[in-house]
Symmetry: C2
Subunit: 365 residues, 2 copies
């Protein structure tokens, strides 16, 4: 299944995931500069790219640590030498996850860590303390707060009781975190950042009432991050900014010129009123926001839309091209597209210069 290294873009297997290295580096540098200016630590979410190479570039640009979503992602990045890792998820530590968490803690080099994990219930905190028994000095928890996305996380006023229970169980409570995911709407970005700051502030009051002082106050999605309130937050966890995608383009926060990852695909068929390209939902992912104008965009043809998606067919309208044409498709949601691919082809000055593995592909447990 290993394709020969293509010498140029026309020889790429179709479809392929292609990174524009200059844009990637520019996106990494811009967010690092923004965080430094704002006085916020940057802990990028690496679930977007699942790539050790890209995480290293983020670290070299000044990232204070990394965020992951699962224990298996933490395993990949810890094995690659990352030592400041936050698993931003309210883990339910069953037998399997307990064993794997303990192996992560045991393998931590001297001076590393602590490993940070999320909790969002008294029971979850008790299980975390039990799971890490004997290794509690290597673990710290952040209480997840719901700032308006209404997914996981406790209401701000419950953060104190959860923190108190965690402390009582012997856990180091490092602070609080939230994901203002309701920033993913047109015109919702600034409001989500306002909600984020208000609810995190309220959570800090609740923590203080329980006698817990936070040293980490963590927030920030890519759409809301430019409005992050540095008087409340100490760190931000954006992910998508490294690549951008059609969602960000349609939310008005990226231009086509910022987009660093595309799926290089081929027009396989041309029919009355539409084209069929060979990148379907098994390559692009099927994500579609309520505000999305389709299932993906074409980088070089702003009027074109992927109007329908099967597993191996993208139906494209708004553009006419000959069969055999190469196109650069911008996935709606780059995180799910990346998780479908085994590797990236990296392009610099129009030539393929590297192949990077998607190291944590499928690391979703």
């Amino acid at each position: 299944m290993t394709a020969p290294e293509p010498a140029d873009l026309t020889a790429l297997p179709s479809p392929s995931l292609v990174i524009d290295e200059a844009r990637l580096d520019s996106n990494i540098a811009a967010m690092a500069a923004f965080a430094a200016r704002a006085g916020l630590a940057l802990r990028p979410h690496v679930k977007t790219h699942k790539s050790v190479e890209i995480a290293r570039r983020q670290r070299a640009a000044g990232a204070a640590g990394i965020t992951v979503a699962t224990i298996s992602e933490a395993e990949v990045f810890a094995a690659a030498g990352f030592t400041d890792i936050f698993i931003a998820y309210p883990l339910w530590l069953d037998a399997d996850k307990t064993a794997r968490l303990r192996r992560l803690l045991e393998a931590m080099p001297d001076g590393a860590g602590p490993l940070l994990i999320g909790v969002d219930s008294v029971e979850g905190a008790a299980r975390a303390a039990h799971a890490a028994a004997g290794l509690l000095d290597r673990l710290a928890v952040l209480v997840e707060v719901d700032s308006g996305h209404h997914r996981s996380g406790v209401p701000a006023a419950q953060a104190g009781p959860v923190a108190a229970a965690a402390t009582l169980a012997g856990l180091d409570v490092a602070g609080v975190f939230t994901f203002p995911g309701h920033s993913y709407t047109p015109d919702g970005r600034r409001a989500a950042a306002t909600d984020e700051a208000r609810e995190l502030s309220a959570a800090l009051v609740s923590l203080a009432g329980a006698g817990v002082t936070a040293r980490i106050v963590s927030g920030g999605s890519t759409p809301s991050v430019e409005f992050a309130d540095a008087t409340v937050l100490t760190e931000i966890r954006p992910g998508v900014y490294v690549f951008r995608d059609a969602q960000q383009w349609e939310l008005g926060m990226s231009s086509a010129d910022d987009i660093a990852l595309t799926v290089r695909a081929t027009v396989a068929a041309r029919h009355d009123g539409h084209l069929i390209a060979d990148a379907g939902s098994k390559v692009l992912g099927a994500d579609r926001g309520s505000y999305s104008t389709g299932f993906g965009r074409l980088l070089d043809h702003p009027d074109a839309r992927v109007c329908a998606l099967s597993e191996h067919h993208a139906t494209i309208t708004g553009i006419d091209l000959p069969a055999g044409s190469r196109i650069s498709v911008v996935p709606n949601h780059v995180c799910t597209a990346v998780n479908l691919a085994d590797d990236y082809l990296v392009v610099r000055n129009g030539a393929v210069v590297a192949r990077w593995p998607v190291d944590a592909r499928g690391a979703n447990t």
Copy 2:
């Protein structure tokens, strides 16, 4: 990343893809029996499962061959010894695909084949003939006909001209095929089968006008297959039937008792009015049909719905369960869920008896 083989279901890593082996075998046997009764050859689409083990069971039950969607899937199954393969896609044979197609043809054992591929344009046929130069006795093409799904495929009246061009270029035209994908609507199943038979019949008339006689007339999606017209079709290509999924359940063609694949997940958090389970879009896939009532169902709780999906969070309503509960989530579209996983855990009589790789995971070029 290799988990220890779990001895029982409670020790499974969460989330995991779990096959109920008895239901799988029953689904395989039922479709094989249906095809035999109907006098139709069964050429199951293995993109659903991407598993050599399952394809072998389909062959043992009487399948005449297999269908794949891509050259890379054909590579996986040819390497595993399958010799009657149809790539049901209008391949655009660029340099990379030409080289790989030629390797497939060269590696075919004596007496195998021919390898079947789809064409849906005069230019595509010309490229196929050029790509297989010197190996044309090992290749045959089926002309793709649009029977109402309006994706790829030519109108029936154009099948003859495409077949004539293919013949002139030196290709063996084995017949015609269609995918009546518009069967994926409530109450649309029988009508799609009627469209399929009418358009394939018209395509055969068009072929006859071009002096081409079809020996294969191939159709059939899982929802429409029970209405397939055996006076027109010679073979059917259903895929999803081996597992079933929430789409099929909601189209009224499966009961919960037929569903052979679920994602075993865990309730990670319980909040006011909803649960959060740890199987998100990176495990379930984000497919959602216009008729779907959510992003997935719970096998044992018919009133529950996955009402929202993030990468690692399924938001579930309509059921209340304690945190830590194990649940069996039925993906909306099983083909895309399978393509996200590296392996299946196989359960018989409540115990894990095997781990099967998803051999062709990511084989989408």
